[in-house]
């Protein structure tokens, strides 16, 4: 029995956060497509604004459909609550701006989604927030990068696209020794394969666009707080521990030591930066969440077979999938991802960029697009798309070669996927022989 719920993961994925609609008895989560909610009288309006009673006021701050998604992901992750955002990028931005302002510093894994690398490496410096990127496998690098102004550690459960496994317990220990929180982007693993809060992380974010939704129809993000980080004791986070004139002079850590981060993020971050999630998107992501445990099991089963198939193929130079024996993080994956190392993998084709192009263009089932985590199988060439802004040196450091191809293995019949890959590999091989 977990301390927070007697229910299992599969049950929570279907039910958490929602009781049947009391007015009409609707079993499915209703889509509350409204910008605002009527106050019963002027007194109630004032009380809601004063946070004397909880409730919904305006959809930029909270919405009943979005709240179901927030609670459900918080329950699945074992957190105290969550905030759904317009995208995964918005969740990352919301975390950062809640914890620091200009002058702040982040220590981040260098194996990140290209969009996150962009935000940290190029965009936030314009606002005075700087990041040191480190080798995620090197504990000393994390330790050595800490400065007096550091406010956050950040990494991905599975680094993109080399699939480095983040040693969350070790990195969390280093962060905590410096009184810093660790944010983990768990997009590629979902709470079905790993619950980073249980491994020591303090905050977890998802691009819900990916596996949580699983259907590729809705962009969204979710940010979950584990509620364990002691912001007051750290003494580094005045946004959470000093009165905020912008919201009733609230000292968020005094107001709620456990939910201080979420309070500030919602009452300032969502309110002022405005990257809220649409209730329609929340509904669509909830439909996907209902089948997340089933889908992740099937994704992992297919991905294991695909990885093994590619690793044995003469046209493939190497496969990056932590579920394979040869991956440098195989042992770590066995410990931190015992139910499977996800369904995204990358591999290096013999023949470089031209071989990569021939491979992708010969595929019929794998869709060539910039996304992962769809129920349908996907493929992309990172060097020319998701990571195109990175220098050759940064690409190499992140484990991306000219011929690196990233797959997101879907739920199609395995034989059909293998046949499609063989078709692409044959095209690549033909090219390299001519």
């Amino acid at each position: 029995m977990s301390a927070s719920t007697p229910y299992g993961r599969d049950t929570l994925a279907l039910h958490a956060g929602q009781s049947p609609d009391p007015t009409h008895g609707s079993r499915a989560t209703p889509i509350h497509f409204t910008t605002s909610h009527v106050f019963s009288d002027t007194a109630e309006a004032a009380e809601l604004f004063n946070l004397e009673r909880p409730g919904h006021v305006y959809a930029r701050i909270s919405n009943p459909t979005v709240a179901v998604l927030e609670e459900r992901v918080a329950a699945l992750e074992g957190g105290v609550g969550a905030i759904a955002t317009a995208s995964g990028q918005a969740a990352l931005h919301l975390t950062i701006v809640t914890l620091m302002g200009a002058g702040g510093h982040i220590v981040a894994s260098r194996s990140l989604y290209g969009g996150s690398h962009n935000l940290l490496g190029y965009t936030l410096p314009r606002f005075g927030i700087h990041t040191t990127f480190v080798d995620p496998r090197d504990p000393d690098a994390w330790r050595d990068a800490v400065r007096a102004e550091t406010r956050l550690f950040f990494g991905e459960s599975l680094g993109n696209p080399g699939l480095d496994v983040l040693d969350i317990p070790t990195v969390a220990q280093i962060a905590h020794a410096h009184h810093l929180p660790l944010l983990v982007d768990a997009t590629l693993v979902t709470p079905c394969l790993q619950r980073p809060l249980e491994l020591g992380a303090d905050l977890v974010m998802h691009s819900a666009t990916k596996f949580l939704g699983g259907h590729g129809v809705a962009v969204g993000g979710v940010l979950v707080d584990g509620g364990r980080f002691d912001w007051e004791a750290a003494g580094l986070f005045p946004t959470l521990t000093e009165p905020y004139d912008g919201f009733h002079g609230m000292d968020f850590a005094e107001e709620s030591p456990v939910a201080a981060f979420l309070l500030r993020a919602r009452r300032e971050g969502l309110r002022d930066f405005g990257a809220c999630l649409s209730p329609m998107n929340a509904f669509q992501i909830l439909q996907g969440l209902e089948t997340l445990p089933l889908r992740m099991r099937a994704h992992v089963d297919n991905a294991r077979q695909v990885a093994a198939h590619l690793a044995a193929h003469e046209q493939v130079a190497r496969v990056a999938y932590p579920g394979l024996d040869g991956h440098p993080d195989h042992a770590l994956a066995a410990r931190l991802l015992p139910a499977g190392a996800g369904a995204v993998l990358s591999f290096e084709l013999k023949g470089g960029r031209a071989a990569g192009q021939a491979f992708i263009e010969a595929l019929r089932l794998f869709s060539h697009l910039a996304n992962v985590g769809d129920a349908k199988s996907l493929v992309i060439h990172p060097a020319s798309t998701t990571h195109f802004r990175m220098s050759a040196a940064d690409l190499a450091a992140a484990g991306i070669g000219e011929g690196t191809v990233r797959l997101s293995v879907g739920l199609e019949s395995l034989a059909d996927l293998l046949a499609d890959l063989d078709r692409g590999l044959a095209a690549a091989g033909k090219l390299s022989r001519t």
Partner: protein, 270 residues
């Protein structure tokens, strides 16, 4: 704000307003293994409607220093010391669960208490042996048991009144933040306090008993001896039942509890 109480730095939440001792004072006492934040909404509600709120972290809890006190009587004495430290002559007491026993004991001994609210309360308040054992040696198991019994079944599914908050997770994290030994000391104090009915018979101030309709820890039917004892002592007693709520009624029925507290305390301050 932070006050020094009996030589120990003590965290006191004032409901988001500056403490104004000219206003009627209300002390809100949390339960076992908790801190002031369980009263977040009700404290804000009272503080924004004419009351001077003092919601302390009891010694050794939350951000307050010191060791957890080991008996209800000691905690009741500490509440009087808190009033002294805050410069408050008279105050109403609101207590939840273990905090209700502290409020009861303090009201029975002190003429400074103007009104009493017992939230989720029974007297005596025996604690099941497996929970006492778990609190001593298996905290996570104790937290799971408390969560299981604190919330009504719908709360275990979710749909919390507080947008985006997963209440069972919030409560588990709050209990996990408390120092080692605090929960065990609190539960032992509840279990050992057998003077509740005698204390109730000595309470002279207006008293409100608030029950969660579906409370499994302190079920409504079990409050009868307490209500009878209060009546025997001559206190003007009211009973208020929160529809659909369990033991964690501050989170499960935040608005309804806030309204009940404000209505009652307003009636006692004229």
């Amino acid at each position: 704000m932070d006050l020094n109480v009996l030589g120990q730095p003590t965290r006191i939440y004032c409901g988001g307003r500056s403490f104004d001792r000219r206003l009627p004072a209300v002390v809100m006492i949390h339960g076992a293994g908790h801190d002031h934040s369980v009263w977040q909404y009700q404290a804000r509600h009272l503080a924004h409607h004419g009351f001077a709120v003092l919601a302390p972290d009891l010694p050794g809890h939350g951000a307050s220093a010191g060791e957890a006190l080991t008996g209800i009587a000691a905690l009741a004495e500490w509440i009087e010391a808190l009033l002294d430290a805050a410069g408050v002559a008279r105050a109403a007491l609101v207590g939840h669960s273990m905090g209700s026993l502290v409020a009861l004991a303090c009201s029975a001994r002190s003429p400074r208490i103007s009104a009493l609210v017992l939230v989720g309360s029974v007297a005596p308040m025996p604690v099941a042996a497996p929970l006492l054992d778990a609190a001593r040696s298996q905290r996570a198991r104790a937290h799971a048991m408390i969560n299981q019994w604190s919330y009504v079944p719908t709360s275990h599914i979710g749909a919390s009144a507080c947008p985006g908050l997963w209440l069972p997770g919030l409560n588990a994290a709050l209990m996990a933040r408390q120092r080692e030994g605090v929960l065990a000391a609190d539960l032992a104090a509840c279990n050992a306090y057998t003077d509740g009915l005698e204390a109730a018979a000595r309470v002279g101030c207006p008293t409100l008993v608030v029950c969660g309709e579906r409370d499994q820890m302190t079920p409504p039917r079990a409050t009868r001896p307490l209500l009878d004892a209060l009546a025997r002592g001559g206190a003007a007693v009211r009973l208020h039942t929160l529809a659909g709520a369990g033991h964690a009624m501050m989170a499960e029925a935040p608005g309804a509890l806030g309204d009940a507290l404000r209505d009652f305390l307003g009636s006692t301050t004229g």
